[in-house]
């Protein structure tokens, strides 16, 4: 996209019927680090890559619990994501208070989308620069939605957003037809492999990725680092069929990775759930 005379205000249409400011906001989502979501009949898994500004700083929090049955992962402007998750938490609490039952996910994403739309039609506002993968469970089953800055929302079986998400999407496209009947463990494994695809060569270890799960009988929660590292180790030993020759290298790398993961654990700020 190049600069043009119709992109200064969000309230200006281009002759081709585009709102450039909204499209630029969606670019901000593509710049953020990857977030991935997958759904089965009874579970939804969110995975994301944690980027830190420098080795000295803590990782940005990209996964938020909204209620026992809903959580989200974000990509893009983290601050906008934080504010929106606070709004969503508030909506869930108010709904529970009034109706003594959990807010259906579909309703929440519509409210979120309407909120985003407002910012595309006010001259004194700007669109939210964050894409949200909303994972939740309600009476109609497990759901995964993607809310974008434009105010649109879509339901997905599996999706990935953020930088290098195309690699994850390619992997998910190959596998998504099996997801509905996947077990919880297989779903998490697929999420981790999808994350690994976005890393493009970098070693997958628990210090750079976060996994969260919500399921029937399982409240939304983030898995702790140790559990994630064990899951990574478990499937890296059973190496992908495309790289059997790399197994000895992978095993050596994984040994180092586990050490680095353990050392990095002490360095990770305690503010993650």
């Amino acid at each position: 996209m190049f600069r043009n005379q119709y992109d200064t205000d969000v309230t200006t249409w281009s002759p081709a019927g585009r709102l450039f400011q909204v499209e630029y906001a969606m670019e901000a989502v593509k710049q953020g680090s990857a977030a991935i979501g997958l759904r089965s009949r009874a579970h939804v898994v969110l995975a994301c890559v944690n980027k830190a500004n420098s080795e000295l700083s803590s990782h940005q929090k990209k996964i938020f619990k909204v209620d026992d049955h809903i959580g989200l992962a974000i990509a893009g402007l983290t601050a906008d994501g934080r504010v929106l998750s606070r709004y969503m938490r508030s909506e869930c609490i108010n709904y529970s208070f009034t109706y003594e039952s959990p807010l259906p996910v579909g309703r929440l994403v519509v409210q979120l989308a309407d909120k985003a739309q407002v910012c595309t039609q006010r001259s004194w506002k700007r669109p939210y620069g964050v894409g949200l993968l909303v994972a939740g469970l309600d009476e109609s089953g497990a759901h995964l939605y993607y809310n974008c800055p434009s105010g649109n929302y879509f339901e997905y079986q599996a999706f990935a957003i953020g930088s290098r998400s195309q690699a994850a999407k390619t992997y998910l496209e190959r596998r998504f037809e099996n997801f509905t009947d996947s077990s919880r463990e297989d779903l998490i494994k697929d999420a981790l492999i999808a994350v690994r695809e976005t890393l493009q060569g970098e070693t997958l270890k628990s210090s750079i990725c976060t996994i969260a799960v919500v399921g029937i009988g399982e409240a939304f929660h983030t898995l702790d680092q140790e559990t994630v590292q064990q899951l990574i180790d478990a499937f890296e030993i059973v190496a992908e069929p495309e790289a059997p020759a790399a197994e000895p290298d992978a095993a050596a790398e994984q040994g180092e990775g586990a050490d680095q993961g353990a050392a990095a654990d002490q360095g990770v700020a305690p503010m993650d759930i």
Binding site: K65, R86, R89, S90, I93, N94, S96, F97, M271, I273
Partner: protein
């Protein structure tokens, strides 16, 4: 021309008694399960006890509709706190929140007489006692509700420091063991049930300690 008076009241008293006793490493909170209106019984099995946080349990007598609203309000506030701070509220924090919430409605109060029990940040038992508009104090034991006038003097007799000359006031915690405290509660309610018509049916006892939370029931006279 005399001033117009309301011909209805927004309040009702559903009766009942609540007691809490704090120990060195436990807290016992108890309430009867009878809900009344006037001279009638609405139900014999209504719980006046509500767990607000991991280590905070509240028992409230008075107007149960207001009590329910108060409990819902505090539960919602606790959820917000958990989202913001990544942990449960401590009992002293909850005590202050309850006080502020009650005073917020100073000019149309919650008709709720509360007693909050739990473990403080050091794991010691704590009991906070309230009036309807939020005035509160940390104590070693307390009773509220229709039977409180019968129960409190007996608790004073058993638990209060013997010498009134002992200043500053003793540690706000009783020297009793957990089993002794539960036994005392049962005795106290059995006696209150005899003379207070609004107290009876069943006694619900909640015990909070380092191992977690435990619930016990005891039958009381149903007349």
């Amino acid at each position: 021309m005399t001033k117009q008076q309301a011909n209805w009241s927004p309040y009702d008293n559903n009766g009942g008694s609540c007691v809490a006793i704090a120990g060195a490493d436990y807290c016992v909170i108890a309430a009867d399960t009878r809900m009344s209106t006037g001279y009638s019984i609405l139900t014999r099995e209504y719980s006046k006890i509500c767990k607000l946080a991991e280590k905070s349990v509240m028992a409230s007598s008075g107007f149960q509709a207001d009590v329910k609203a108060l409990q819902k309000h505090l539960a919602a506030r606790h959820l917000i706190y958990q989202h913001q701070h990544n942990k449960h509220m401590s009992c002293p924090a909850m005590a202050q929140l309850l006080s502020n919430t009650l005073y917020y409605k100073r000019f149309f109060p919650y008709y709720a007489f509360n007693v909050l029990g739990g473990l403080d940040s050091e794991g010691k038992g704590c009991v906070y006692t309230y009036d309807a508009v939020g005035s509160y104090e940390r104590v070693g034991y307390s009773a509220q509700g229709s039977g409180s006038t019968l129960i409190m003097p007996f608790l004073d007799n058993q638990l209060k420091s013997p010498s009134p000359l002992l200043l500053p006031a003793q540690d706000a915690v009783t020297p009793l063991s957990e089993l002794e405290a539960v036994d005392l509660i049962k005795t106290v309610f059995a006696s209150a049930t005899e003379r207070d018509i609004y107290t009876g049916d069943k006694l619900e006892i909640v015990v909070l300690n380092a191992d977690g939370i435990r619930r016990e029931y005891m039958e009381l006279r149903k007349d």
